[in-house]
């Protein structure tokens, strides 16, 4: 794990780490690599990937208008709202 890769991962995850945390992650990855490398020895050429152990069905809601939650309820725990909208700090310069 190089610092540049770590910087890219932080950006992808919208995470900022302190220098100590960065060192911690780099050390952790170095130790993890030994464990992960054991997988390389296995021949998986003709093995199917298994994302789920069982078939996954797409849940389709009944095509019927409904309002299970009120806007007020959904926004009750929001950090900031204004007239029914969620507010965020400025997006553009």
């Amino acid at each position: 794990m190089e610092r540049d890769v770590l910087r890219r991962l932080c950006l992808l995850n919208q995470l900022s780490l302190t220098e100590t945390q960065k060192d911690d992650v780099i050390n952790f990855f170095a130790e993890r690599d030994a464990d992960t490398a054991t997988l390389e020895a296995i021949d998986t050429e003709n093995v199917e990937r298994m994302v789920h152990v069982m078939p996954v069905l797409t849940v389709v809601r009944e095509d019927k208008a409904s309002q299970p939650f009120s806007r007020e309820d959904l926004q009750a725990g929001a950090p900031e709202t204004d007239e029914g909208y969620w507010c965020v700090p400025r997006v553009l310069e």
């Binding site: 794990m1 890769v5 770590l6 890219r8 991962l9 932080c10 992808l12 995850n13 919208q14 995470l15 900022s16 780490l17 945390q21 911690d24 992650v25 952790f28 990855f29 130790e31 993890r32 464990d35 992960t36 054991t38 997988l39 390389e40 296995i42 998986t44 093995v47 199917e48 990937r49 298994m50 994302v51 789920h52 152990v53 069982m54 996954v56 069905l57 797409t58 849940v59 299970p68 939650f69 309820d73 959904l74 009750a76 725990g77 929001a78 950090p79 900031e80 969620w86 965020v88 700090p89 400025r90 997006v91």
Partner: protein
């Protein structure tokens, strides 16, 4: 009579015969929480008023001569990663501190329909990532058996509350052993059901293809009773299994004659504490004595389960935890612009272990690393599943340790890789989606409880309950209680 020490089925009999009231029962538990949970620290939120109200409703039904279900009026606790309408649900994270969901998880709704009494929400490792409950953002929970030890994790609050008689039973969730390992460390029964048997709707996701909700209880009968209430198809969960779920209490026969039980050699020997191995072998011998056929077998891909798991689970977590951005609910850190808000919110909201796993997962999914890490791990997962498929052609269930050791000492969370190894015996069943049950079976040289794990093919919970119940009925090693004063 100390009501808090009793099981669901014992208390149900007392409620129905009107020897006790649900109100009296809940008050005893609330008083006990007040007196002892300052030490144990199992609860994040105690819902005393709600519990008293729920108990009163059960008393009214009894007074009116109505029939009540087995779980009616029985005080219990819910792991704090299951949504409970209007009640704080934190996932033991600063990110969700103060968050009150607008709906309850299906599993909570199912228990509500059984007239449950909820004492509160219990502690856990943040977002269920950990094996000690020391990763909670709020406080660490202690093991009721020994104050210097952890209760296990991530469902440490669920296990400690039941072991300390601060709840009659609890719900936990298990992604890599998070029900069974704490059950083992705290000397109670814990069951991870077959993937899809219990709805995950309203369970705050860690790794969606592995997470499963299950019970932690004082004995095998209680475990079957809870399973009866919480299993079932749920159209709100795309991975819910549409299956004809049986009455699990029918498996409690005490008879194991003719059962075929495998003892996988990969789970014994190096890395397993000798006391733990001795108890696993003793449990296998007891089952043989009771008429089961026990023989050694092999699951050759077992050693690859942990490296595969620690690629798959973080990969899913990194995606699932992307939703915490400070916009709609939960923590928001003040910032000048939206990009700064995302970064600062996630920096302040997540603890070090969660950040570590998010980074690991994103790395495994990144372009250039995906095939070597994530894809490889998914293929190895298939090989592990095939191992089990072959084994279950010959055996009704497998017997192994639940964890390589008994409860770990507090304060060892500086070495995450060493801690990951405490789930080495439980992770393979999550990867394969099969059920696993941890049963207390004696103690080690220091008097700490040992857990024996029974696992079976998908939907083989009755076989696990059957074997566990036979052990429970024929030994005095399964109903263990912590010494008062040592960890309480």
């Amino acid at each position: 009579m100390t009501l808090s020490r009793l099981t669901i089925h014992e208390l149900h009999d007392l409620l129905v015969s009107k020897e006790i009231s649900a109100t009296e029962l809940v008050q005893e538990h609330l008083d006990r929480i007040q007196a002892l949970d300052g030490n144990v620290k199992s609860y994040i939120t105690v819902t005393g008023d709600l519990a008293r109200k729920q108990a009163k409703a059960v008393d009214a039904k009894l007074a009116a001569g109505e029939t009540i279900g087995m779980l009616a009026g029985i005080p219990m606790a819910v792991k704090d990663n299951m949504c409970t309408e209007g009640i704080p649900t934190t996932c033991a994270s600063r990110m969700l501190e103060g968050f009150k969901p607008q709906y309850s998880a299906t599993v909570v709704e199912k228990l509500k329909a059984e007239d449950f009494v909820m004492l509160g929400k219990v502690n856990m490792d943040e977002f269920a990532m950990g094996s000690t409950t020391e990763n909670s953002a709020f406080f660490a929970t202690q093991n009721p058996w020994n104050a210097d030890c952890v209760p296990g994790g991530s469902s440490g609050g669920s296990a400690a509350s039941v072991a300390a008689d601060l709840a009659v039973y609890s719900l936990g969730s298990d992604t890599g052993g998070s029900i069974r390992q704490p059950a083992s460390f705290c000397g109670i029964v814990g069951l991870k059901p077959t993937y899809g048997a219990v709805s995950r709707f309203g369970l705050i996701a860690f790794a969606s293809s592995l997470d499963q909700i299950g019970p932690l209880a004082k004995d095998v009968t209680d475990t079957a009773l809870i399973l009866n209430a919480i299993t079932g198809y749920d159209k709100k969960d795309s991975t819910s299994a549409d299956y004809n779920y049986p009455d699990y209490t029918a498996a409690l026969t005490g008879d194991v004659k003719g059962m075929r039980i495998g003892l996988p050699k990969e789970y014994l020997g190096e890395g397993i504490d000798p006391d733990v191995e001795a108890q696993v072998r003793a449990a296998a011998a007891k089952l043989e004595e009771l008429g089961a056929h026990v023989e050694e077998c092999s699951l050759p891909y077992t050693r690859y389960a942990m490296p595969a798991y620690y690629l798959i689970a973080p990969a899913e977590a990194s995606s699932n935890l992307g939703r915490y951005d400070g916009v709609r609910y939960g923590l928001r850190a003040p910032a000048e612009d939206v990009a700064g808000m995302f970064c600062d919110t996630r920096k302040k909201g997540f603890g070090p272990e969660v950040k570590r796993r998010i980074m690991l997962g994103t790395y495994a999914l990144s372009s250039g690393y995906y095939d070597a890490y994530y894809l490889k791990a998914l293929k190895v997962r298939n090989l592990i599943k095939q191992d089990y498929d072959r084994a279950f052609e010959q055996y009704d269930c497998l017997i192994t340790p639940t964890a390589p050791t008994t409860a770990l000492r507090k304060g060892n969370n500086q070495d995450p890789l060493a801690l990951y190894k405490s789930d080495i015996c439980t992770i393979p069943t999550n990867l394969a989606g099969i059920p696993g049950l941890s049963l207390p079976y004696g103690t080690d040289r220091n008097g700490m409880p040992i857990g024996v794990q029974l696992s079976g093919k998908a939907f083989a919970e009755p076989a696990l309950l059957r074997a566990a119940y036979a052990l429970e009925q024929n030994t005095n090693l399964t109903r263990l209680k912590p010494n008062q004063g040592k960890g309480l």
